[in-house]
């Protein structure tokens, strides 16, 4: 059989403007069962990063069965046909590597980092758990408890810990982004073996995944090994259901006031914005830099330096596949109120709507873009994760080289436009937290 049945594309992109040229070269091909493969060679240290990204996340769940994608992530470490319970982690440790996984609304991502002479071991392990469903009842009940403990730790036992899921539910009042990735305790309790198996048969198939290997490897040998371990895995028999993504545009500002065991008043704001990959998304990223990147940013100066109205604040843009969320959160300093903090934030947003950012700030944001782009390439696991991500979301791993160009092509006018269009009160939800007054 000739290699590269589906074509081996050599992708090259040139670096961006100026005197810095950094470029990630990679090869990509697809196996007959549909598994997408991306290889990138970098022999500077004897290490490989392996990343398998399944295109399934909490948005593929159903109401009443939430938390599945993430629970499943835990179960994938519980053994497979030739690997008994607990052995997965043991094999990787024995080989001198480490591994982990994460689940988002859109993807479930597994990664292994090992000395490069252990590459076949990782491929054997990953292919075995892609081959066949092997979850036992015992594993299901243990991992259900572990996940519930994770939820207590992340959400229930942490001040403001419920803010992210409360905001998510409000900003996505309907549809697949409405529920949190970790799910609800009730749904986790009711997860049956049948549910779990169905989930696997549908989504954990090679045609719904991408495999990335980055690091100290030889291209031909690695391709041969991948074919050896992954070619005989059958594609899914069940079709991957259409998502029919649902969402409802917000029509007015939602404000909720909450009381609880929190140390100080706080405000959480979320705006619904376009999804990752859109032009508006890149413009909003540049806006975030002006607002909150570093101690010279506008919000740092106003909230922390000039007025000291907050003890801490954060701006984050979460790019998801079908929508984006722009978030602002701040904790009021002693003697300050959450309302006053929100007012200051709103003043800064209004300023961005009214006038263009200065040439100086604009240039500063671009420099930060270039720096963070280069910084991301420093580890094999980082590169593997980025390639898998760009493939899964956009079928375009080349974005690892070209995305920076898109960020750099944003103009000051576009920055003002996206703020006018998306950072509007009728597109946002606001949560206020008040400490419970002790008697």
């Amino acid at each position: 059989m000739p290699s590269g049945n589906h074509g081996t594309a050599q992708t090259r992109n040139t670096g961006f403007t100026g005197n810095i040229k950094v470029n990630v070269d990679f090869n990509q091909f697809r196996l007959e069962n549909g598994l997408a493969v991306i290889l990138r060679r970098d022999n500077s240290v004897p290490v490989v990063g392996i990343d398998i990204c399944y295109h399934v996340g909490s948005k593929n769940e159903k109401k009443g069965k939430t938390g599945f994608a993430h629970l499943f992530e835990h179960l994938m470490f519980e053994g497979s046909e030739h690997v008994t319970k607990g052995e997965f982690d043991r094999y990787i440790s024995l080989a001198g590597g480490y591994n982990n996984a994460y689940t988002t609304e859109d993807v479930t991502n597994y990664y292994d980092v090992l000395p490069s002479n252990q590459l076949s071991l990782a491929l054997w392990l990953e292919s075995d758990r892609m081959l066949k469903f092997s979850v036992t009842n015992e594993s299901l009940s243990t991992q259900r408890e572990v996940v519930k403990e994770e939820k207590r730790w992340r959400v229930d036992n942490r001040p403001y810990g419920d803010a992210p899921e409360k905001m998510q539910a409000l900003i996505f009042p309907v549809g697949q982004y409405h529920w949190p990735v970790i799910g609800s305790m009730e749904d986790l309790d009711s997860a049956s073996m049948e549910d779990v198996r169905g989930f696997y048969e549908r989504y954990y198939r090679p045609n719904n995944a991408v495999l990335v290997v980055s690091g100290d490897l030889e291209m031909e040998r690695t391709e041969r090994l991948i074919r050896k371990y992954f070619s005989d895995i059958p594609p899914g028999k069940m079709p991957i259901p259409d998502l029919n993504f649902e969402d409802k545009q917000l029509s007015k500002e939602t404000v909720e006031e909450l009381r609880g065991l929190v140390p100080s008043p706080a405000v959480f704001v979320a705006y619904k914005v376009p999804p990752e990959g859109s032009d508006e998304y890149y413009a909003l990223i540049q806006v975030a830099k002006v607002l909150s990147d570093g101690n010279s940013s506008r919000l740092y100066k106003r909230l922390l330096y000039d007025t000291q109205a907050v003890s801490d604040f954060d701006v984050a843009i979460e790019g998801m596949e079908k929508s984006g969320v722009y978030m602002f959160s701040a904790f009021a300093a002693p003697g300050r109120t959450e309302k006053e903090v929100l007012k200051m934030f709103d003043t800064e947003v209004a300023r961005l709507q009214d006038s263009l950012v200065s040439e100086y700030e604009f240039e500063k944001g671009r420099n930060a873009t270039i720096s963070s782009y280069i910084g991301r390439l420093s580890t094999n696991s980082g590169v593997a994760d980025a390639l898998a991500h760009y493939h899964t979301f956009f079928e375009d791993p080349g974005l690892i080289n070209s995305e920076v160009e898109r960020e750099l092509s944003v103009t000051r006018q576009e920055m003002r436009e996206v703020v006018q269009k998306f950072l509007r009160n009728d597109r946002r939800v606001v949560l206020f937290y008040h400490p419970d007054v002790k008697e």
């Binding site: 004897p46 440790s93 001198g96 009940s141 994770e150 100290d216 074919r227 940013s297 904790f331 300093a333």
Partner: protein
């Protein structure tokens, strides 16, 4: 390329590894100025980034009666120099897309700047300025203090923070290691400009500090920068002030920092551990990894994978200039709290009383030896190791021999260091959680004191 897929693949056994690559700790350059100031260069031109670290070899251990002094002093370095205001420093580093940070550990005060190669001069100039010319302006002091107080107030709502503070105080008593190195509300309020000036002057001198350059730079270029600024730096030579090691041996009471309504408890169990430059350190480190230092460790397997009590459990030897803390840390739901304490005690006794199996030994050693090159992927990581060698006066070939030394550790060594450094009869047990839910069942392990977040006793059981 030919290969055949006619015979089905035998998946029953794991594939054999290929020949391991030779892993060497990268060579690095060491230079010295006439005034005793030293610098190191970890050269790596893969990416056009340069990181420069400044390290002074004394940290929070010297906070004295003002916990957090080193930490606040270090934060203030970026808040004004003879040549730049706080805002100018922030503007200058942000404009080139760089990063600037300072921190204090128990054993060092450090400052790091990271910039793209073509902004190296800017990065270096800011770094040297904050070290050589800080002015600690009163207005900035007031700001930083107010911010610290606010963040301590925030932290006091975190179960993990409350448990840590009480636990360290229980383990170390009045020793500096028993105080929070980020400060307390009292100590922060008391600090004045004189304290910061004095701390910086005393603990940041040419003889006691060094620079590490990592990334896209060679020794000649580094030398140019160093000689321009640091070669003429004057200051008293390094004279390590003597602070004794803590020596508490008696068992601590079981303390619950009460958090009514908590659905989980943050649990800390431990006692005084080992010093970083102890001859036993590497063995103790391997022993701890096996016990609770990685995912496949006994404690995590027991608490998480077998019992489902927790999302994760781990143990640590925080080895410092003086013996630091040994602790087991986890977060568990209320109804299995005493069961968890019991399992931890079982594990602590087991590692002393029995030899680890051959399999466990192979796994932990392979894991640590294999992880080593993965942790040397970036020049910044290599620089981090160089800093460890210098801080703790380890032999220069320490990391060159590291993998071999790990592989030499035997099951008997593990048991011997477990007996020497793990003492179930000296444990402090501290929880932050809902006393109403958990106190009763903990009585079987000893006297239980219920405390408020400030450490005042509410009741005793």
């Amino acid at each position: 390329m030919t290969y055949s897929t006619t015979t089905p693949l035998d998946r029953s056994k794991p594939p054999k590894p290929g020949l391991p690559s030779k892993v060497t700790f990268p060579k690095y350059f060491e230079g010295r100025c006439d005034n005793g100031f030293r610098y190191f260069v970890v050269e790596n031109h893969t990416l056009p980034i340069v990181t420069i670290g400044f390290v002074a070899k004394e940290g929070a251990l010297f906070d004295g009666d003002l916990p957090g002094l080193g930490s606040v002093t270090s934060e203030l370095l970026t808040k004004g120099t003879k040549n730049r205001t706080a805002t100018q420093i922030a503007e200058e580093i942000d404009f080139v897309g760089g990063s600037l940070s300072t921190n204090v550990s128990w054993d060092a005060s450090q400052a790091f700047v990271s910039v793209l190669k073509h902004h190296l001069a800017t990065g270096f100039n800011i770094l040297q300025d904050i070290i050589l010319n800080p002015v600690f302006p009163e207005s900035e002091i007031a700001r930083v203090k107010a911010q610290r107080l606010a963040s301590i107030q925030q932290l006091k709502a975190e179960p993990g923070y409350l448990a840590d503070v009480r636990f360290l105080s229980s383990v170390f008593g009045g020793h500096p290691y028993g105080q929070p190195s980020s400060g307390t509300e009292k100590s922060i309020a008391k600090m004045t400009r004189r304290d910061f000036v004095k701390f910086h002057k005393t603990h940041c001198t040419p003889g006691s500090s060094f620079l590490v350059f990592a990334g896209d730079i060679d020794p000649r270029e580094a030398e140019k920068y160093v000689s321009r600024r640091f070669a003429r730096w004057r200051g008293k030579m390094y004279a390590p002030s003597a602070i004794r090691a803590a020596s508490k041996k008696e068992k601590g009471k079981i303390c619950i920092v009460d958090k009514p309504g908590a659905v989980q408890s943050a649990l800390r169990v431990g006692h005084i551990g080992i010093a970083r430059n102890s001859r036993d350190f590497l063995k103790a480190f391997v022993m701890n990894t096996l016990l609770g230092g990685y995912f496949s460790s006994r404690i995590n397997m027991n608490l998480r994978e077998v019992h489902g009590y927790t999302y994760g459990g781990k143990s640590t030897f925080d080895a410092r200039m003086l013996p630091g803390v040994f602790e087991v840390a986890t977060d568990v739901r209320n109804d299995v709290t005493s069961e968890t304490v019991n399992e931890i005690l079982i594990e602590l006794n087991k590692i002393r009383d029995t030899l680890p199996s051959k399999d466990e030994m192979t796994m932990v050693k392979n894991y640590l030896a294999g992880l080593f090159p993965i942790q040397l992927e970036t020049p910044q990581q290599v620089a981090g190791r160089v800093i460890v060698i210098e801080l703790y006066n380890l032999p220069k070939n320490y990391y060159r021999n590291y993998r071999d030394d790990i592989m030499k550790v035997t099951a008997r060594d593990i048991q011997a260091v477990a007996k020497k450094y793990i003492h179930p009869d000296r444990l402090s047990i501290v929880l932050s959680g809902s006393s109403k839910e958990i106190a009763g069942k903990l009585k079987k392990f000893g006297e239980v004191a219920v405390l408020d977040p400030e450490g005042n006793k509410i009741s005793e059981l």
